[in-house]
Amino acid sequence: MLKTFADRNPNAFILPLFFLALVFGLGCDSRYYDERMQMEVQQLDSDLENRWSTSGVVVLAMTPNGPADKADVEVGELISYIIAEYPIQNAGDFNSAMKKAIDEDNNLVLYIKDKPPFRIAIRRLGDKIGLKVEGGSTVRVKEIQPGTPAANLDIEVGDIVEKVVDERKIHSLGDYKKTLGEFSKQQVTFRTSELIGVKIASVTALGELGDTRAVEPLMDIFTNSSELSLRKAAVSSLERLVELSALNELFQQFQAANVDELPADSLQAQQLESAAILGLLTVDLAENTATLKAPFGTQFRHRAAALHQKINEGQLVTLAQRYIQRAVEPEQEIRRACLSMLGILRPASAIDALVVVLKNPGELPGIRFQAGLALSQIGDPAVDALIAAFEGADTSTKDIAVSALGGIGGTKARNLLINALESAEEPAIQLTLVDALAKIGDAPALEALERQRTRFQEDDTGIRIFLAEVFKNLASEPR
């Protein structure tokens, strides 16, 4: 049975053998040492294939002083393209270059004299570019076939073709071997790539680790990267570093005592709370303990001082101040993060820039409010600027300035708010003013609120209900 089958169809055995050879020859070894480059490369992790548009081979090792080593290829690099150039000196060169370059899923770049390079993507085998050329030492375009890729490009008859570049995408070790084989008589260029996902993860991790050395590289990415997702990650890591640095005082208490646990009531409540939110320590009120979490919290107490110093050197403030402007930074998430950093760092130098954001009618309300919040965090030094912003401003600016002033308090702010409340007509502003004065809550503020209660006694508007609510809350709060 077997024999007759083989007799009838001799190819039946050869074909599987051929496939077996193919599998052995191309697909299966996970490593390959290339004599010409004197470099060993490795296949990608199988589950990485076709993910995150990753493809290529990884450099494992190089022979010292071999061609790859001399060219400064680095171990660990991912080679995702192999590129070869075909100089065009006559029409024959062009035709043979085309023949080689026309391959499935391949890019070729056409260099025409005095024109930018044309990148042509070939999707299927047999696609034609649609160019015919002629000439000896200078090769010129003779004909452009309509309906082909060439017809859609800015190429004219008579243009001089200088060179053709063939960019081969490397999907597997097999591709790598095959392509280098085809380019065996040419100079080749490797194009390597780095996954953006890895960078984003690194940026995020550096924010988590709270190390001083990360500050400058993160600022660099934030200002110079062209990848929005990476910039967003960098700015939120910087924000975390700023938050961490603000806890320096707390951590110095642990450091001074050289312990990882202190009585909770010996520490400042607000700092304790933010440290707990950031996951640095746990607070047990019943036991009255604040315990640094291992390993991060315990390690961080040694790093806190250095980070605090680095963050407060001033560069970060300058940077944040610049990127809160909508004209500079179109991405609202980044503007918001910069505002939040300024709120924590509280530089008086940022007051003017913050007021500009607060007053900007073209800015998003949430961002303007965040600018007001940052000003109120800066506190007393910002009062005059906020009062100036309040005078003669539109309702929404007034609203934000009022709540910022309420957050700061003090005689000056309080007196302005009282005067404003007594002359205010717009209900929206009235509510914010009441709220701000209630927050300040000193005797003159409460007297002013009392007068309002009498004023609106008969009224059936929201303000009366709101005032009643405010007084109820004030009564229940221990003072």
Binding site: C28, R36, R191, E194, L209, A214, Q299
Partner: protein, 303 residues
């Protein structure tokens, strides 16, 4: 004739069964039966009342296995005034001790019950009590039988068995990594992917540096020559997480993964490093940032 023999045999068996049943009923402690009845009933505060019965049963017969087991199972600190001796006795560790007492009297039966039933209870307190009991078995009881039962559970088709067993093995491993790590490492070769998955998780919970080489090899298998040698991505991903839990000497392994651009687990390794908070991670992460997104290297034609 033959028929007759069979029927007499059958009646004999029946009689024997009945006799055994009656004897068993007779020896069963009255309080124990009452307690069990209560549990089955829908009476108010039935557990609290049943627990009282189990305690009485133990007073009369200190070795009564079932009462010990049920007391360990149903007792709860919620029944008592905090600070009282009763309350103290209802702590998880004490409940575990009662379960262990049951095991001491009837080893085979209660070992299986603890592993395949008690651990499966929805109540975390019950699970924890069972864990305490099994830890006692490990220290004072038939260790090899315990381990073989846990291995059996790890290889089970039922996800709950595997999950419970990995949890116990992880805890036992913290006490005695020298014995447990090799057992778990051996399970990394098991044919069932879920078993390997749970073995990896348990190794992470054990947190012993002894497991690093095996986990590293498993992670590296992603670029193995043959498909059958490559571990599944989800298992490899968990192995990276496990390295993160081990920390210490595992940090360089994680750094190696970050540096290998052919690895699909770089992001996982970075996450593990960041949750560890280890300073050693900073420089490799900064290097990852420095790497250009894309560059071209010209290799001149060698003459």
């Amino acid at each position: 004739m033959r028929n007759c023999a069979i029927s007499s045999l059958r009646s004999f068996c029946l009689a024997l069964g009945l006799a055994v049943f009656i004897v068993a009923c007779g020896t069963q402690n009255e309080n124990l039966s009452k307690g069990k009845e209560l549990i089955k009933s829908d009476k108010r505060r039935k557990e609290e009342r049943a627990v009282r019965e189990f305690k009485l049963a133990i007073q009369q017969q200190p070795d009564i296995a079932e009462a010990h087991y049920l007391l360990g199972f149903y007792d709860s600190q919620e029944f008592y005034e905090p600070g009282t001796p009763e309350w103290e006795k209802a702590a998880i560790a004490e409940r575990g001790n009662h379960m262990f007492r049951a095991y001491q009297t009837e080893q085979r039966k209660y070992l299986e019950t603890l592993i395949f039933e008690t651990l499966r209870d929805d109540e975390p307190d019950v699970q924890n009590a069972a864990l305490v009991a099994l830890q006692q078995v490990y220290r004072k009881g038939d260790r090899s039988r315990l381990l073989s039962q846990l291995e059996k559970a790890m290889k089970s088709k039922d996800n709950r068995d595997r999950h419970d067993a990995h949890w116990v093995l992880g805890h036992l491993g913290k006490e005695d990594p020298g014995t447990l790590v090799p057992i778990l490492v051996k399970l990394l070769d098991h044919g069932r992917m879920e078993t390997r998955l749970n073995a990896v998780k348990a190794l992470g919970e054990v947190g012993s540096e002894q497991a690093i080489p095996s986990l590293a090899a498993l992670i590296d298998s992603g670029s193995a020559k043959w498909k059958r040698d490559r571990e599944k991505p989800e298992v490899r991903q968990l192995a990276v997480e496990a390295l993160g839990k081990i920390g210490g000497a595992a940090v360089p392994e994680l750094v190696k993964i970050v540096q290998n651009k052919g690895s699909s687990l770089r992001v996982d390794a970075i996450r593990a490093l960041s949750s560890l908070g280890d300073e050693k991670a900073v420089v490799p992460l900064l290097d990852a940032l420095k790497a250009q997104s894309s560059r071209e290297v010209v290799i001149p034609f060698a003459n």
